[in-house]
């Protein structure tokens, strides 16, 4: 511990530092074997839906140059398991973590029901995933259309008035700023960006896609410049804070996001590759900031 104060306030919730986990790349029971969750500013949990989802058939993972594709398809045990006394949320709160609960749905109604349940839980904030490229209906259907995204945000906000609502944006759009503005107008308290980019790899021996589903979502260092640009463009026009993600694997990647206008940063794929990545990046960031202050 270096003793410097890196705390940030994200729409009313105090984060002890600006580093979070990205949804789908953290699991309390497994990640806690490597670091305690209260060391980070916030833990974003895997997307949960009203009913359990099975996800897509395998293979669901493919490596790409400097990145990876996934087509998990939001496999999750359902919101009741998540909220149960032995569920992930209770465990995280017991461990002193700040928690952002990521929710998913197929329909407006499913999203609203999920938001309502989280609203009366211990979670500190809600992240609305309208950008998953891996589910047939829901997800991107909302994230791609500024009007649909705004309407959904407004509806969901009505069901969780007391909790900060963060809307997670998709990069798979012509102009991300129009979606960002639309959800801000509809009452989003913050946005997080970016979710994965649609992509595909083909096995040239078999002549067919590597992923069983065909396409998947691209993440990791390969997408970092795309994310930095999108954060930069959105920061120019938004009044609400931006939580940035996409390819952060070292402190300098996080700094790029801060200079682009983000208030906090989440680490995803880097944690798949090294369980300790979020805390390593945080330590490196603290050191960089101290070194700069001391003019090194």
């Amino acid at each position: 511990m270096t003793g410097i104060d890196l705390s940030v306030n994200i729409c009313g919730v105090e984060w002890k530092n600006p580093i979070a986990t990205a949804s789908g790349t953290y699991s309390y029971f497994e990640s806690s074997r490597y670091y305690k969750p209260d060391r980070l500013g916030c833990i974003t949990t895997k997307g949960v839906s009203i009913n359990p989802w099975n996800g897509n058939p395998g293979p669901r993972i493919a490596e790409t140059y400097g990145g990876m594709l996934n087509s998990i398809g939001l496999e999750n045990p359902g919101i009741d398991a998540y909220l149960s006394p032995s569920g992930e949320l209770r465990m995280l709160k017991k461990a002193g973590a700040t928690v952002m609960a990521n929710i998913a749905g197929h329909t407006v109604r499913e999203y609203c029901e999920a938001a309502e349940k989280i609203a009366s839980s211990e979670a500190d904030m809600i992240e609305l995933n309208i950008s998953c490229p891996n589910v047939e209906c829901g997800g991107l259907v909302f994230g791609r259309d500024p009007k649909a995204a705004g309407d959904l945000t407004k509806e969901v906000k009505r069901h969780c008035p007391g909790k900060p609502l963060v809307v997670k944006l998709s990069p798979n759009v012509t102009d991300i700023t129009t979606v960002a503005l639309s959800v801000q107008e509809a009452g989003a308290d913050a946005v997080s960006m970016i979710n994965t980019l649609l992509g595909m790899r083909i096995d040239t021996m078999a002549g067919k896609p590597v992923l069983a589903k065909g396409s998947g979502g691209l993440s990791g260092p390969a997408i970092h410049p795309v994310a930095v640009y999108m954060v930069y463009e959105c920061a120019k026009i938004l009044d609400i804070p931006i939580i940035a993600m996409g390819g952060v694997s070292k402190a300098d990647d996080a700094l790029e996001f801060f200079y682009a206008g983000a208030k906090a940063v989440a680490v995803g794929t880097a944690a798949i590759v090294d369980p300790e990545a979020p805390v390593k990046i945080l330590a490196e960031l603290e050191k960089k900031i101290i070194d700069r202050r001391e003019g090194k």
């Binding site: 699991s27 497994e30 074997r33 359990p52 996800g55 293979p59 669901r60 996934n70 798949i272 369980p275």
Partner: protein, 295 residues
């Protein structure tokens, strides 16, 4: 806290058979903890190849740990070319192994019949064979003379690694699809049909699960052979992994589960199902919980 992702020094990097290599790293922290059937995440020292390559622990010798692998793509090719003295990063040991349940063959504290003599079948195919060696050594170490180990090994082509195995098991039957290359011409199942029955008369065999590791089609046939002969089995599954330690759900697979569990699975026959992660709940599972993929 688990072992972290760390750098380890390569102490040996040897050719084993056509396209197959053994890499030995000095990794006291891993060697101390690794149990048979567990695996390591190995990170290829090449920036853009981000994802870990999972390899089963094929042996532990002192503070050294050995993996044996086939060169498949870019990652294994690069690994096989690293010189002794180079460093590679690894995370582990990971996963649930052959004996990671109470009262297993090596858990004599819980085994009320620790004194009995057991016969254990090892059934391996191709690259699934080396991890069985470490399992055999563990059984012998725990039970001393009170275990007879019989290995049935299937190869596409010439057998390899049988000599190393013979140091730790009592009998090896090899099978090859190339006539005249091995003890039996045909599959590992042909070898079991021909030779295993002789050992089944031994009543204690029934209490000792067979250990199975190899390609899925071979494992499916072997597990069904065992079930048909009243034998339980422990099977090491393979899957495309992302993280290898349980956070990404890249490796999930649906299993039979009498108690039910995670997920909405209920099939028409009323058998309950559940989702498990191959990387943490496995890679070794009970043969009778696996829903085999259609070839």
């Amino acid at each position: 806290m688990s072992g972290m992702r760390e750098k380890y020094r390569i102490v040996e990097n040897d050719w084993v058979a056509h396209g197959i290599f053994e890499t030995v790293v000095s990794a006291p922290q891993i060697a101390e903890k690794a149990r048979p059937g567990q695996f390591l995440n190995v990170y290829i020292p090449d920036g853009p190849m981000l994802l870990p390559r999972p390899f089963s622990v094929s042996d532990v010798r002192g503070s050294n740990i050995s993996i044996i692998y086939k060169v498949k793509g870019g990652g294994t090719a690069l690994l096989s070319e690293l010189a002794e003295g180079c460093e590679v990063e690894a995370l582990g040991p990971l996963g649930t192994g052959f004996f990671d349940y109470p009262g297993s063959l090596t858990d004599l504290g819980r085994d009320h019949f620790a004194d009995r003599k057991v016969t254990v079948f090892l059934i391996g195919g191709g690259l699934g064979i080396p991890p069985l060696l470490y399992a055999a050594r563990a059984i012998k170490a725990a039970r001393h003379g009170r275990a007879q180990i019989v290995a049935f090994l299937g190869y596409p082509g010439d057998p390899w690694y049988t000599k190393q195995l013979l140091n730790h098991v009592d009998k090896v039957f090899s099978a090859s699809d190339m006539p005249g290359r091995a003890d039996i011409s045909g599959t590992v199942i042909d070898a079991m049909d021909a030779k295993a029955r002789g050992y089944l008369g031994d009543r204690e065999t029934a209490n000792a699960p067979a250990l199975i590791c190899g390609p899925e089609a071979m494992m499916s046939a072997a597990a069904q052979w065992c079930a048909g002969h009243g034998l339980k089995s422990r099977v090491s599954l393979e899957a495309r992994l992302g993280c290898g330690y349980g956070v990404c759900r890249g490796c999930s697979r649906v299993f039979k589960s009498p108690e039910g569990g995670e997920g909405p699975y209920m099939d028409y026959s009323g058998t309950k199902r559940t989702v498990k992660k191959v990387c943490v709940h496995g890679p070794v599972f009970w043969g009778d919980e696996i829903i085999w993929k259609k070839p």
